[in-house]
């Protein structure tokens, strides 16, 4: 804003003030960025060092003498990270696709058709936006035991669908209301079925689907609570739970701890760096409020 303000008399003091006025925000932002990155950076660089160097020179980058992959060797030998990674991927992608499909269907019905109880149903489905699903854990575990879904990935997926639906439906129905009525009516005149029209509308709300997708994925991938409670077995542990348990056992093996943290961080960081632009744009454009 200061850059676009009308040019005034460029006196020396004014220039000086302006220089510091634009420098100060940079200093604060850069300083805070260092603060945000520093701990992550420390873990990354030290995961590639020998135990001696981790303690002797923690702030130095790994060099020819201090470079070591011993931690990664321990992790690949002792922990079943590949399995955890596959489990997390199945759960996250499975839940995500079903949330988007089922949520879009419900949002379409709520925004397109007038039927008795429409508003009430919308309200019912939006309770879950504010009330966390965790509070029903005692009931969820009983239900999972009853349905034989304890220690299965399907059980986790179902819980995450229930968790993700309320916000998805709420946001998507707002977007679907903006799809022009003429378009749908034209299709109806051409004899298209209601299901066909839904398939026509779906691509039109693609940006919203993308934004919801990214924001639904991250909490599911990162969740510790439900894997810990309903699927803690070694076969069904997700990466978050697997890392948590592995770190608990190997607390004193610093190489292994640093390497496993790095392995757990890197996929999410790559995903974030690739999609950060879209993520932040979607919030600022008001897709998610």
């Amino acid at each position: 804003m200061s850059d676009s303000s009308p040019v005034r008399t460029a006196t020396f003091t004014y220039r000086l003030r302006r220089f510091f006025g634009s420098l100060a925000p940079h200093l604060v932002l850069a300083g805070y960025s260092v603060f945000a990155l520093f701990p992550i950076f420390m873990i990354l660089i030290n995961s590639f060092k020998t135990r001696k160097a981790i303690f002797g020179a923690p702030f130095e980058l790994p060099n020819a003498q201090t470079f070591s992959l011993i931690g990664y060797e321990t992790v690949t030998k002792r922990a079943n990270f590949a399995q955890y990674f596959i489990n997390s991927t199945i759960v996250t992608i499975g839940a995500l696709l079903l949330i988007l499909l089922i949520g879009a269907m419900a949002a379409y019905a709520l925004s397109e058709y007038r039927f008795p109880g429409n508003a009430l149903l919308g309200l019912y489905l939006s309770i879950g936006i504010m009330i966390p699903i965790r509070l029903g854990t005692v009931g969820i575990l009983r239900l999972m035991v009853g349905l034989n879904l304890v220690n299965t990935l399907a059980g986790l997926i179902l819980v995450y669908i229930a968790q993700g639906l309320p916000l998805t439906i709420f946001i998507l129905s707002q977007f679907m209301r903006q799809v022009p009525r003429e378009l749908k009516d034209a299709a109806r005149i051409d004899g298209a079925s209601e299901y066909r029209i839904f398939m026509l509308v779906l691509p039109l709300v693609r940006p919203a689907l993308g934004a919801i997708g990214i924001f639904t994925m991250i909490p599911i991938w990162n969740d510790l609570w439900f894997p810990l409670i309903i699927s803690p077995s070694a076969k069904t542990a997700t990466i978050t739970l697997g890392v948590q348990q592995f770190l608990g056992q190997f607390v004193s093996d610093w190489n292994a701890v640093l390497s496993s943290l790095t392995l757990a961080m890197v996929p999410i960081l790559i995903f974030y760096i690739v999609f950060s632009g879209q993520m932040i744009r979607s919030i600022t454009a008001g897709a998610i409020k």
Partner: protein
């Protein structure tokens, strides 16, 4: 078929088909367990696992019994401290960073990406990272403090009962500051330039125009940030469990409602898990969160004017 045709309108089966999967999964896996859990807080279990109605006995036990009450009141108090630190540190820093980012200029996209980064990482990872960074054995924090001459002030904060809760809260603040930042940022860049320019022409300083023009305009976002912080904090668990275990040590000083709920439900070394008491703790969390949400909806949202920009 003939019956359907005889009716004035064909029953709109497609609406049912569109709604059924969402309504069924949501009802079965969220609403029903939540209600069942609330119901269980009024029941006890016999040794052979049969339910019997006990009225408010579980609640009385939670509030007054010598094994439960100190833990419950302690966790509740700690949780309010945890929330207060987020409101006083996380949200003002988020607002400051958002205001600086919204000021425009070079490098803003870069800063935004970096500042939001810790937020996307799992709480488990963040918890372990900070445990290592603050660990006196590794000495990273102490080393840094020595460099600036503050070495003598270093303490193993996470291990001391008087500082552990504050340390854990600040780590959570460090991770989640990205959320208020991005929400405030979105609100601030939505304010039309003309409004601010008009004020600048009238001679308002940047400080003045921020607090008297921009801030009142983003009040709805202030409310959203506050309620999101409240719900998130009273539902928190992962960070404390990762850093301090289910016992939320030292001496339960970092115990909050989430860890209390986990311990009560699943048990710990000396105590067996108790589903009914677990459900009672969860019911209290539900009441607290519900109260917060209702205050937000009826006391805050109704009073705050939302300006159409």
């Amino acid at each position: 078929m003939s019956q359907a045709i005889r009716r004035k309108k064909v029953f709109p089966w497609h609406i049912v088909v569109f709604l059924a999967p969402a309504v069924i999964i949501y009802s079965v896996f969220m609403v029903f367990p939540l209600l069942n859990s609330l119901r269980l807080s009024f029941f006890g279990f016999t040794p052979d696992n049969k339910e019997f109605f006990v009225g408010f006995q579980n609640y009385v036990k939670l509030f007054t019994d010598s094994t439960y009450a100190p833990r419950f009141w302690g966790a509740l108090k700690n949780n309010f401290v945890f929330f207060a630190i987020h409101m006083l540190v996380q949200n003002p820093i988020g607002l400051l960073l958002a205001a600086l980012l919204a000021g425009g200029g070079r490098g803003r996209n870069f800063y935004r990406t970096i500042l939001f980064m810790p937020t996307v990482l799992s709480v488990v990872i963040i918890g372990f990272i900070w445990q290592l960074i603050l660990n006196p054995l590794w000495g990273v924090t102490e080393g840094l403090m020595k460099m600036v001459g503050l070495g003598s002030l270093f303490k193993p904060w996470l291990g001391l009962p008087e500082s552990a809760l504050i340390a854990v809260s600040l780590i959570s603040v460090w991770q989640f500051v990205g959320i208020p930042m991005i929400l405030f940022y979105a609100a601030l860049i939505g304010i039309p330039e003309e409004l601010i320019e008009a004020a600048t022409v009238d001679g308002a300083s940047r400080w003045h125009s921020f607090w008297h023009i921009k801030f009142p305009l983003i009040l709805p976002t202030v409310g959203i940030v506050a309620i999101l912080t409240f719900v998130g904090n009273f539902n928190a668990f992962d960070l404390i469990y990762t850093m301090k275990g289910a016992n939320a040590g030292p001496e339960f000083s970092t115990d909050i409602m989430g860890t209390l709920f986990y311990r009560t439900f699943f048990g710990q070394q000396l105590q067996l898990g108790n589903p009914a008491m677990g459900a009672t703790v969860a019911a209290m969390m539900f009441l607290i969160i519900l109260t917060g949400v209702l205050i937000y909806m009826f006391l805050w949202q109704r009073r705050v004017t939302t300006y159409e920009l």
